[in-house]
Amino acid sequence: MEHMILTQNCLDFGCCLKPLLVPIDKINGPSLTNPSVYVDNQEILVNLRNLNYILYHSEKSKFEHAWGPLCYLHKESDQRLVTKNILCNLDKNLNITSYDTIDTFFLDETPMWEFVGLEDGRLVKWENKFYLSGVRRDTTKNGVGRMELSEIKNKKNKLIEVSRVRIPAPEPDNSYCEKNWMPVLNKPYVYIKWTNPTEVVEVDPINVTCKTIKLGVYNPSLECGDLRGGSQVVFINGYYLAIVHEVNLFQSEACKKNSIYRHRFVVWNENFELIEISNKFSFMGANIEFCCGLAEINESILITFGFQDNAAFILSIPKKILGNWIKIYA
């Protein structure tokens, strides 16, 4: 096995893994994935990405779809790939106790691209306001992606998106797609935009600007691939910790796209200097998995991840075993 399977690796150390499901008849599409966890005063919140498509991934290319080994299977009558977001409350046993689809009606505009909605929203609470921060690609005809900051409020027992800020990329704001920026939970409106070299940006949501506040240098000694974003950045025991992903994008011999995602723990010091990267791992052995949730609760770490865009899980691991994978926590 060329990588570690994280859930397998921590099975004997008191971890708990739960599928995240809400009744299928209460949601807007067949798939729940890429969950993001946030702990607010011992209350566990999870955002679930609810998709109208099913991801098809023939990992061993034995039963490739006619459209290739990796494809999005949308309805034949609706080519859009739509995301809705569902906010859930979990009890201490990681069971969902309540949930509600976030109502975005008041801020929605007619989508201009086939990917619709806020994707991979990370839960964050800054200045006493709850936000989902993810990428939106439906505002232009060519699918330009930008991170957005959506404030969520509970109004009369209904979750409503009350404001939406489309975050520009730091000057020059001309990239095609910005996504997977990692919000730093204890620094309002600060994101780690890129891992290696580490780029930290600060957003001004009032004036809708974004500037780079720290740009590290590429550290070639950290032997890893092209590290992208992932979870929130959580300050634990004096270090910033996040889970990031790297992607091997490739084509089959028939020129059909395929990809393999792997993940790593990444640690920065208080100055956002990259100091450690773990070995790569998958969560449950699939080639497409994605993590956009990391939180600390008491003596545990909560990790939320999606499996092939079709399933969502929450994993609780004792904080003390982080040292198994990250030396700095040993």
Binding site: P19, I24, E59, F63
Partner: protein, 411 residues
């Protein structure tokens, strides 16, 4: 953590653990994650049967989700794995039938019947394929729509007669048989024509009759039993066409009076325009027969009762509404439609009922052609001439009675 998940985590490349986790998700009604684990299992496993089952489960997860092309992909992969198994043929035929792609539906049902071993495979999960009758059913349905109407009828009748169907398919077959009718063969009629035929039983003035109207000589049977009675009376439940196949048109021409019941307004209107006697355009199951009989007949003995309301259950239920304790009938023709009665119960029920009311079954299972027995002919022994009764009874056979054999002889 539930067992299926723990097992999977312990060995994510184990085929059975992937499969079981897929099943677990399907049981939670979450088919999208189930597809992930079924596909992983199908790609990992070396067990061809499990591989086939995974592809069927993938199809079932996607079925009805507006991802039709993907459904086809899985079923065709399954066919590729094992063309001897019947399930993929069945689902493909069913799938194309649902899309009204009749040719492909027929093609896969036919191929399944020709190529596969037709017996259900031994799967870990429930796959809704019970036996070859399901392939025959879709072949029958699709055959109808591609112009193979007689083949379709033959297949539906085969299903009715030779297979034990589950409730759902029983209902579908019954409905289809009623909808598509019995075709030209089964609806054949036998008519009397004085030029070519002789009547086996002579009755008063029988030589004056040139032709009859009934489908299988019922009118001539009534006249035989009543020795050519003029000015008789009848109650005709399920009148149908005013002349074509009518059991009472000839009687009316001989001076009989009576009343018909016909639910179809167009047929009832035709009757009013073309016939002398009265007709009620009503549902035979909603009639107060006591009132109808009281207001239309002076006597409580009526010469002829016709019962013919499809389907079989309606004929029987209509009969049960008739006040047999207050009114008696000399002759009864009862159409039990046994050949299309899927439950095969109403013929016996009607016989028990009429015997209990004092009637004698003279000729059972009347048919125009072999295989389509649809009617019983009854008399009330006390109300017809004894010598005629004995003569009729002497010709009685227990099996199917072809009308022409009973009533006619060739010149």
């Amino acid at each position: 953590m539930h067992k299926e998940l723990i097992d999977y985590i312990k060995n994510t490349e184990d085929d059975i653990y992937n499969f079981n986790l897929g099943v677990w998700y399907e049981k939670q009604s979450h088919k999208s994650p189930a597809t992930s684990f079924y596909l992983r299992c199908a790609e990992i496993t070396q067990d061809k049967n499990l591989e086939y089952e995974c592809l069927l489960r993938l199809y079932l997860c996607y079925k009805g989700s507006d991802r039709d092309y993907t459904c086809e992909v899985f079923l065709k992969y399954a066919l590729e794995i094992d063309p001897k198994k019947p399930e993929a043929y069945f689902f493909l035929s069913q799938y194309y039938e649902f899309k009204k792609n009749w040719f492909d539906s027929y093609f896969y049902a036919h191929l399944g019947l020709m190529v596969s071993d037709k017996t259900p495979s031994n799967f870990k999960t429930v796959i809704d394929y019970e036996s070859e009758y399901m392939l025959i059913f879709y072949k029958a349905v699709s055959a109808w729509w591609i112009g193979k109407n007689e083949e379709s009828r033959m297949l539906f009748n085969k299903l009715k007669d030779e297979y034990k169907l589950n409730k759902f398919y029983f209902m579908l077959v019954e409905k289809n048989i009623l909808n598509i009718g019995v075709g030209n063969y089964y609806t054949s009629s036998i008519r009397y024509n004085k030029k070519y035929d002789d009547l086996k039983f002579k009755f008063e003035d029988s030589e004056k009759i040139d032709k009859n109207f009934s489908q299988v000589l019922q009118d001539l049977f009534v006249l035989t039993a009543l020795n050519g009675k003029k000015n008789g009376t009848y109650l005709e439940i399920g009148s149908g066409h005013s002349f074509l196949n009518s059991n009472t048109a000839l009687l009316e021409q001989l001076g009989w009076t009576g009343i018909g019941v016909e639910r179809n307004p167009e047929l009832a209107e035709m009757h009013r325009n073309e016939r002398k006697n009265k007709i009620l355009c009503e549902n035979s199951l909603e009639i107060n027969y006591e009132e109808v009989l009281k207001s239309n007949f002076k006597e409580n003995i009526i010469d002829y009762l016709q019962l013919d309301v499809e389907p079989s259950i309606n004929t029987f239920m209509s009969m049960c509404l008739i006040p047999f304790n207050d009114y008696k009938f000399r002759v009864i023709t009862y159409e039990h439609d046994h050949y299309v009665d899927m439950k095969k119960i109403f013929r016996e029920k009607s016989r028990n009922y009429l015997r209990g009311m004092g009637y004698t079954l003279v000729f059972n299972d009347i048919a125009a052609v072999q295989g389509s027995s649809f009617e019983d002919w009854w008399v009330h022994k006390d109300l017809i001439d004894d010598s005629i009764f004995k003569n009729l009874i002497s010709c009685k056979k227990e099996d199917i009675n072809l009308a022409k054999d009973i009533m006619l002889k060739k010149k």
